[in-house]
């Protein structure tokens, strides 16, 4: 058992697709929350194999895409200072701010380092005591525990030259925002498997009940995805609205309690702006008061930031499932991975990048 190839097995996937075809009687709109799921769907051409009644719309679960422009411009401002080493997940380097990206900061002499894990940034701070090391702590609930560990570690080791620029977001408030919007089309959710690995899925039960919407925790391999779709469609056809788990090899209802308590220690819920969507109440985490000394926004003066969003980009509609990338007039013409107007064209979890890479006409 390798836990990968088995979940890409063509016969098993086809069997599950046949099951979906047998159970579906009318059109349904499903949203996969996570950009990793979007990429998997496009990469394996899964959307082409579903019965035409089922429409998949792509959700906001791309951490790079929803990081607000203000925060990116702050990152660029901090990263361009000569006394700073700016550490970031690689995916963030090509994301355009108002006028430039982290790659161009690096080309002009800024010290921008790609790290694979937040603890690497703490190590860089220890190795460079004469520099300020700033880590760009972005992401959903998936990255929050590792980011929290880095801050706890820096505190335990007394690393004074380490700080974090936080743009941490949470899935449940975004689901509220999508389901509560008057123009909402989403009838069922594939919840993001790896977010639920950390948080469990008890948080989704009130949402499913409030909006009468089935929510199925779903993984990322083709078989995981068709299984999640099948469970959601069966619920819709039956008229039930439960939270179900189609990713039980990884996810439990409670999630990872140790990770959750670490998040609760380091972060506190705050209102957060989502790029293209706007402020969603209590939708993010900021550093709790006990860790305020690690806040890069307090350590560096970034209050003067003025943002300028590309006018033509419809990222907000894309991220709420209201439009698909090919419906954007700029898609593939004025907006490409080499010259992106918005983050969804850049990130390996962005919907525009998935369509461009795997399915453009």
């Amino acid at each position: 058992m390798q836990f990968t190839r088995e979940f890409r097995d063509s016969d098993l996937v086809k069997g599950m697709l046949a099951k979906i075809r047998r159970s579906v009687t009318r059109p349904w709109v499903l949203m996969e929350i996570c950009g990793g799921q979007t990429h998997s769907i496009m990469r394996y051409g899964l959307d082409q194999l579903l019965p035409e009644e089922i429409e998949l719309v792509h959700g906001p679960g791309c951490p790079v895409c929803v990081t607000p422009l203000e925060q990116i411009d702050r990152a660029l401002d901090i990263a361009s200072r000569p006394d700073v080493i700016f550490a970031s997940f690689g995916d963030m380097l090509r994301v355009p701010g108002s006028v430039q990206d982290l790659f161009s900061i690096r080309a002009r002499g800024g010290q921008v380092k790609v790290v694979y894990a937040p603890l690497d940034a703490v190590r860089i701070a220890q190795e460079n005591p004469d520099k300020q090391v700033v880590f760009f702590a972005i992401g959903f609930e998936t990255t929050a525990p590792a980011n929290a560990v880095a801050i706890l570690q820096a505190q335990a080791l007394g690393v004074k030259n380490f700080s974090v620029l936080v743009s941490q977001v949470r899935v449940p408030p975004a689901m509220h925002a999508i389901l509560g919007a008057p123009q909402n089309r989403v009838q069922g959710f594939l919840a993001a498997g790896h977010v639920c690995t950390v948080m469990g899925y008890w948080e989704y039960e009130p949402i499913a009940a409030q909006y009468q919407t089935p929510i199925v925790v779903t993984g990322f391999e083709p078989l995981d995805l068709v299984y999640g779709i099948q469970m959601t469609v069966e619920q819709l056809e039956r008229g039930t609205c439960e939270v179900q788990n189609a990713y039980p090899r990884v996810v439990t209802r409670d999630g990872n309690r140790a990770a959750q308590s670490m998040i609760a220690r380091v972060f506190k819920p705050v209102d957060r702006a989502w790029r293209g969507i706007g402020v969603i109440p209590q939708s993010g985490w900021g550093l709790s008061d006990a860790f305020a000394e690690f806040d890069a926004e307090k350590r560096f003066d970034v209050s003067h930031i003025q943002t300028r969003e590309a006018q033509e980009c419809i990222a907000g509609k894309i991220l709420q499932g209201l439009a698909k990338p090919p419906q954007c007039p700029a898609f593939g013409v004025r907006c490409t991975p080499e010259n992106p107007l918005g983050a969804p064209m850049v990130s390996s979890e962005g919907a525009c990048s998935a369509f461009y890479r795997y399915a453009r006409q």
């Binding site: 990968t4 097995d9 996937v13 990793g36 394996y44 051409g45 995916d91 990130s347 890479r357």
Partner: protein
């Protein structure tokens, strides 16, 4: 008058004139001066590993006789890699194989190489010697001679240890027609072995992955295998080594050059399970990871069996397989039949490969 004698500052043979340091253990700026130190480094270090009648001549140029009729194939490549030594190879083997392979993709027999070295001040001579020994071994294996060379030294911090540029010259036999524009609808696409080994081996050797692997770079000279292939399947139309940008980028080049569609089957693509696991973990696609010892072959279907047999008979081609075919439309595209029966585009690599976030 009985004046005391002058201190021996005027005495050119006195003990106050120290012997210059020899600097035999590490590279210093003087090694790039063009003067005696350069000559000494060339004679003592470089010639010990890289030698040929042309180099022994000691001229500013190499005067070469070609062994037969045909056209010349020339290719040049600059090699930078961090770290300099990685599992399965090093910058020296890479510098020889990269250029030998580029020349061999024309169907030519590679004959001669030149090498230009940019050394960083402070580079241990021992490191240079290890690299040169590796270049010597790779050149011997490939059957090529070094016929010209150059060395420059830059200040510390201006280079990553050493950079190597190599230029290769080969002879394309008369009548041999191989090139990226010659793929035709109906042809089949072969690959000589597993994808992505070199890129992942180098990434792992940098120690940044947070996990250890046993993956070895595939860096190897392919001209021997190509000679055997062309004997067995003389109608080969395209040869290409999928280096930077991986198989996906190289096949896109062929699709555009030949104005055809390359249609791949995902379940035929050979990927080592360890490479696949590393890619899954980092969010990479093995189709975009560099190879340094793999060969793409486009050949008419009637010679597929002979070509595969020739590749598999060679130690660098044991895992050779057919991975797809050439269609007329949609032109300039690479498509892939996915494991689960969908179809998708395989695009050119856009920029630097970046690991995903979660």
């Amino acid at each position: 008058m009985n004046q005391p004698s002058q201190p021996d500052q005027n005495s050119f043979e006195g003990p106050a004139c120290p012997l210059p340091l020899q600097h035999v253990d590490e590279i210093v700026i003087g090694h790039g001066s063009g003067g005696r130190m350069t000559h000494d480094l060339v004679a003592r270090v470089f010639h010990a590993y890289l030698s040929s009648p042309a180099l022994a001549q000691g001229d500013d140029f190499a005067s070469l006789s070609l062994p037969g009729a045909g056209r010349l194939a020339i290719s040049t490549d600059s090699h930078i890699v961090k770290p300099l030594f990685f599992p399965g190879g090093d910058i020296g083997r890479l510098a020889v194989c990269g250029t030998v392979n580029d020349v061999a993709m024309s169907g030519a027999a590679p004959l001669f190489l030149t090498a230009g070295f940019i050394l960083e001040e402070g580079l241990p001579v021992d490191t240079l010697q290890r690299v040169l020994a590796s270049m010597q071994a790779a050149a011997q294996e490939a059957g090529v001679q070094f016929v010209a060379g150059d060395t420059k030294v830059v200040e510390r911090g201006k280079a990553d240890g050493l950079f190597i540029n190599t230029t290769g010259i080969g002879l394309i036999p008369a009548g041999c027609q191989i090139g990226g524009a010659l793929a035709q609808p109906g042809d089949v696409v072969l690959i000589s072995g597993t994808l992505g080994d070199h890129g992942i081996a180098v990434l792992a050797a940098r120690g940044e992955l947070g996990f250890e692997t046993q993956i070895q770079s595939d860096v190897a000279p392919l001209n021997g295998m190509i000679a055997a292939l062309l004997q067995a399947a003389p109608q080969v139309r395209v040869l290409r080594d999928p280096t930077r940008g991986g198989l996906a980028t190289t096949l896109n080049e062929i699709a555009v050059q030949s104005r055809v569609c390359v249609q791949l089957d995902e379940d035929a693509l050979p990927v080592d399970p360890a490479v696949q696991a590393a890619c899954d973990m980092l969010g990479f696609d093995p189709l975009y990871i560099a190879n340094e010892g793999k060969l793409i072959v486009v050949v008419p279907p009637e010679q597929q069996a002979a070509a595969l047999e020739a590749l598999r008979a060679h130690s660098y081609g044991r895992a050779a397989v057919c991975i797809g075919r050439i269609n007329a439309a949609p032109a300039n595209r690479v498509l892939l039949n996915t494991l689960i029966g969908g179809t998708r585009i395989v695009d050119t690599l856009a920029g630097e490969i970046l690991p995903r976030i979660c």
